[in-house]
């Protein structure tokens, strides 16, 4: 019995590896002047997921011969992937630090450009039951406030905003990413949190945003760049142009992003 099991798994291993080996072919780069074709691969920060998926669909509608494929992960993971030869035509980062890292590693083609900005907001339960009006309310006794740890950009920005508003860092939980902050508030485990405006937008009907005024807010830039050795540079350039076009920007705005 054990012998038969072993034989079966041995065959399974060989078949599995053989199937996996039948990889997909690389798209052909088109001649300039012709309509773009093939596949364009976009490595994008996880916080861009919802907006970029919609931009990708709109781009495919405008360019029928092109397929957009996304590779979503944290910005720093994407830089690690790119420096180790991950296939990509475009890299979109959630902060400048990681774009700089990619540039220093020599994986980018040309200069990066900012295509969107994001600002902080206070996330509260829908209907704002604790009547929070601004950052100063977050230190109110008895309130549970959730922010990101200082190592991730959102946590760094949140502390900068609190400093600008002359408010101490409130008591409460510290999360590794903004999505956890939003889910804590939507599950009622926290009364408020500091996240990006876009995260409140994507957080659904259970949460609402309280605006942080400009003089206390921190604006995060989202840079994007072509990747060196991309397999489809002409389609990649078209995608970048589409992203900063009126249509692309309108989609980003719908997800709460500000123009560059």
């Amino acid at each position: 019995m054990a012998g038969r099991t072993l034989t079966l798994v041995g065959i399974g291993a060989i078949v599995g590896l053989a199937l996996a080996g039948c990889g997909s072919g690389t798209p052909k780069a088109d001649k300039s002047g012709q309509a773009v074709t093939g596949t364009v691969t976009v490595s994008a920060a996880a916080s861009l997921t919802a907006a970029f998926q919609e931009v990708g669909k709109a781009f495919e509608d405008a360019h029928h011969a092109v397929t957009v494929k996304f590779n979503f992960a944290g910005s720093s993971t994407l830089v690690t992937q790119l420096t180790n030869g991950a296939p990509a035509d475009i890299f979109a980062s959630a902060d400048e630090a990681n774009m700089d890292k990619a540039e220093k590693a020599g994986v980018l083609d040309g200069k990066s450009q900012d295509f969107a900005r994001n600002r902080l907001a206070i996330v509260v339960a829908a209907g704002n039951p604790k009547a929070i009006t601004g950052l100063k309310d977050l230190v109110r006794p008895g309130l549970v406030v959730s922010i990101c740890v200082p190592d991730v950009p959102a946590g760094r920005y949140a502390r900068q905003a609190l400093t600008k508003a002359a408010v101490a860092v409130p008591q409460g939980s510290q999360e590794l990413d903004v999505k956890s902050v939003v889910s804590r508030v939507s599950l009622g485990q926290a009364d408020a949190g500091i996240v990006y405006t876009t995260d409140v937008q994507d957080g659904g009907a259970k949460v609402a945003a309280v605006t942080i005024p400009d003089d206390q807010n921190v604006i995060a830039n989202y840079p994007i760049s072509l990747v060196k050795h991309g397999s489809n540079p002409s389609a990649a350039k078209e995608f970048l142009a589409f992203l900063v076009s009126q249509q692309g920007q309108a989609i980003l705005a719908r997800h709460g992003f500000l123009g560059p």
């Binding site: 099991t5 072993l6 041995g10 599995g16 996996a20 997909s24 919802a50 690690t80 180790n84 030869g85």
Partner: protein, 287 residues
């Protein structure tokens, strides 16, 4: 449930003692110690409540649409292909690895044991980076492979299998090592006395003796491979249809539609439970 006792006797009597599965332990017949029952209940609660929470809060109305969505089907197919291939590799390579550690006088066995269990404690993301340094196109092994054959392992489906094998195989090695330590060596010695060579002893005596552990190790490895996220996204990327397994699809869905993420997780739970119960019947007989 009541057939457990009767199974120990009967057909197995005719088989030679060392090739038969160990006799099934008799069920406790008296009153069980209260403390054990209380602690077991608390332990069970830790698993029952999260599962119940998933079932109650799950967006059931979204399930049909998700099941036919090509992204989810691709991810599920990839998850099954990669996790089963990784499990097969765990058996194929992990059992010999454990055997070498336990049955030979190879110098540096202790170090080898430590290294092969490293992925258990290593954060999976760090494991993914380590895999890139080894098998990536600039890795110490990967660039030679790429230069001489043009083969790319990172960021391919094969890369997913490698990443899953990397994190799952320690569970096989640890389980089999433990089993090999507790095997009655006299049975192997007896086989040698009768003239069996080392391969025959391994194949006909040792392997049947450790069969329950082999099954346990296989199930553990498969479960670990199926849920793998960190090493996969780092070493293989998150490319839909190519390297985006179910856990990665859940991660993407969390960013856009948290309800869909819960539903996708449920599909994964249902498929794994289905396979495990199916195999349980196959391997252990009805219990």
């Amino acid at each position: 449930m009541t057939t457990g006792l009767s199974q120990g006797v009967g057909p197995t009597v005719a088989a030679p003692a060392w090739s038969a599965p160990p006799p099934r332990a008799a069920r406790w017949s008296g009153r069980p110690p209260l403390l054990l029952v209380v602690l077991a209940t608390v332990g069970a609660g830790l698993f029952v409540f999260p599962l119940a929470g998933l079932l109650v809060k799950a967006p059931w109305e979204q399930l049909p649409a998700l099941l036919v969505a090509p992204e989810a089907r691709d991810a599920l197919g990839l998850s099954l292909l990669c996790s089963l291939s990784a499990t097969a590799l765990c058996v194929l390579l992990g059992v010999p690895l454990a055997w070498v550690q336990q049955r030979t006088r190879l110098p540096g066995r202790g170090l080898l044991r430590a290294i092969t269990t490293l992925p258990v404690v290593l954060p999976p993301v760090a494991g993914g980076v380590a895999l890139l340094y080894a098998f990536g196109s600039r890795g110490i092994f990967g660039w030679v492979l790429n230069r001489d054959t043009g083969i790319q392992l990172a960021f391919t489906t094969t890369g997913v299998i490698i990443a899953e094998t990397f994190v799952a195989m320690p569970f096989m090695v640890i389980t089999i090592s433990g089993a090999l330590q507790s095997v009655d060596r006299r049975l192997e010695e007896a086989a040698r006395t009768f003239g069996a060579n080392r391969w025959t002893i391994f194949w006909r005596v040792t392997l049947p003796l450790i069969r329950p552990s082999l099954i346990a190790g296989t199930v553990l490895s498969w479960a670990r491979a199926l849920g793998e996220f960190g090493a996969t996204i780092t070493f293989a990327g998150n490319y839909p249809g190519k390297t985006q397994t179910m856990p990665l699809a859940v991660y993407v869905a969390l960013e856009t539609n948290p309800d869909a993420a819960v539903a996708l997780s449920l599909i994964l739970v249902a498929v794994s439970l289905g396979i495990l119960t199916g195999l349980r019947r196959q391997w252990f007989g009805p219990t």
